[in-house]
Assembly symmetry: C2
Amino acid sequence: MREVFVVGIGITSFTRLEYPLAEIAAYPGMMALKDSGLSKVDQVYVANMGGGRVNHQTGLASAVVDQLSLAPAGAETIENGPASGASAIKTGFMAVASGLCDTVMVIGAERMREVNDLESTDFVATLTHPHAEYIYGVTLPSLAGMFARLYMDKYKVTPRHLGMVAVKNHDHAMDNFFAHLHERITLEGIIDSPEASTNNPFVADPLRFYDCCPVSDGAACVILASGDAAKKTGKPRIRLAGVGQATDTLAVHDRKEPTDLLAARGAAAAAFKMAGFKPSQVDVAELHDAFTILEIAESEEVGFFKKGEGHLALEKGETRLGGSLPINPSGGLKAKGHPVGATGVGQAHEIVLQLRGEAEKRQVKGAKTGFTCNFGGFGNNVVCLAFKKEG
Amino acid sequence: MREVFVVGIGITSFTRLEYPLAEIAAYPGMMALKDSGLSKVDQVYVANMGGGRVNHQTGLASAVVDQLSLAPAGAETIENGPASGASAIKTGFMAVASGLCDTVMVIGAERMREVNDLESTDFVATLTHPHAEYIYGVTLPSLAGMFARLYMDKYKVTPRHLGMVAVKNHDHAMDNFFAHLHERITLEGIIDSPEASTNNPFVADPLRFYDCCPVSDGAACVILASGDAAKKTGKPRIRLAGVGQATDTLAVHDRKEPTDLLAARGAAAAAFKMAGFKPSQVDVAELHDAFTILEIAESEEVGFFKKGEGHLALEKGETRLGGSLPINPSGGLKAKGHPVGATGVGQAHEIVLQLRGEAEKRQVKGAKTGFTCNFGGFGNNVVCLAFKKEG
């Protein structure tokens, strides 16, 4: 299996964007070409979840090839719900590792501005089990709410812990120009004060407004290359050292212990095994905090903290910028935003920026290893990636 | 790059199916597991175009893993319009070739029964250029009509030649239990007689009703395996010897010569190069005859006949079962049916059946090499596969 390096990155603001989906997708591709110094690639993968339904656009990867004049490069659209981004990176990894391609552009893109709040909840609910969940009105926020209730009861996690995730990630996003929300929040304002119930109403009890990520438009890109092709670009040697993926039952109630996220556990273990380093050796991580509870649960499942102790590390500030293992320095899905198909690529973008030492005010000093966890469905299909700075 | 073999196949009838999309998709997966003797696989790819829009189902690959109890296998949905099927096979090829997986299930599936005739035309039109084609009312049938007009003028192809493709493929489908249309037609009935204008009305002049494929539901599956894993199954050694893909401009009018299908030409050349054999050495082929004119044009572009001479070979019966190079023994998209995401996998299914010698009444005697051309968009993203019987 050939080694795979990241030689170019690009990103749009995660926000409300006016452009058509294919143009949103193409933009960070153009940035990443410029960053890498390449003018063409062998293959394009585009991660996207809603183009066919929301944007009247199928064959998105072909449209992006056309936008960027990259023909005759191969092109496919990759969908794995909110984990589409990391799935596309995994697919790009295989294309280079197999020897079929020397350079692969991986884009994640989503334009969600057409969907209003009700429609977006229904749209994302198409990820649930059609007969065992969806028809009973189950949505992703409601699953997250039920999960949070069980988790909080079992591991003594309080609403203040959830609030701490939000406060931390909003703080981090203040230094990320491309983040959707530039809004500093406090525990006082969202939990502790009498105004909290107005400022921060319940969405799916026990989850409140500030426990949920925004609905964003946006796109991000990483260009992958073989060792030789990477050398020619002269870019820092950031290696995609490990890719791991695992699935779990589609319906959450089919799981033996619903508070266990076995797919996250399995995906992380596989990524670390391939990369040859341990969770304790990770310098910076981006986890999938679509709901605040997920950052806490994933930080345990991927191996950073013991099960049930993620909230204690959070409490001590270990996962804050400046702490021993900064999680979501970009702001995470919570504050950077969550254009579903783009998210996994956005996570990788942040890690590459950190390992290059180009993250400016939110730089994790001396970061040499990075990790991402991209969470599909409600934990039924998780993809983890491990990155390493070499040389 | 490791060698890749097909060790299991399965298919549903291409027809109107009552089951939900995930169940339609899972069914041939179950057949292919039984065929291969395997009980699990490392990875599942599902090719599908319309699940998010038409069937209220995203994360389809994860749902299929759940249906077949294949967790923790990795899973992604692959979309490349009508070429999604071969794109998923190409992706599965990389997974095995890279060494990341030993066994990969590739399913193609589509449930189109929800879409009525108008909606299905609009749905497929989401493949066209959103600003340069779609908003002017361009649809796939209209593009095919304009393409056919230019092609027929330039190469002296007549409406009777188009009819010959339909008659041949309907004849072939009579011996395919899984085909959508079991209806023998004649040139007399669809072209030559006074009743032809009633029997076979224009859809997009010069293309008539019997020049267009039906709108079908259905699914197909191939299981790919490494050399070692394939040996253990004891199945015939059918090697996926070549995969090729190429893209072209999204808008057809951007092409220098609109009657040239450069993506088909490039994809075929790449597949033959990897496979190490020539078009003249192919024993049986499945081409993408969504419209009859495409079988003629593709038979030239992939290298079987000189440009402009495909209709002459057709006229002589060379492409009929019993001829020197049978094309679409399954009935093709024209009569076997065209559940878009399933089509490319259905083509591969037919070739494997032929190379195994299991095609019964439609068996191409002694077939040792096979070829498929799966055509995405209107020729903007084409994937070709070359198969070889070994040992």
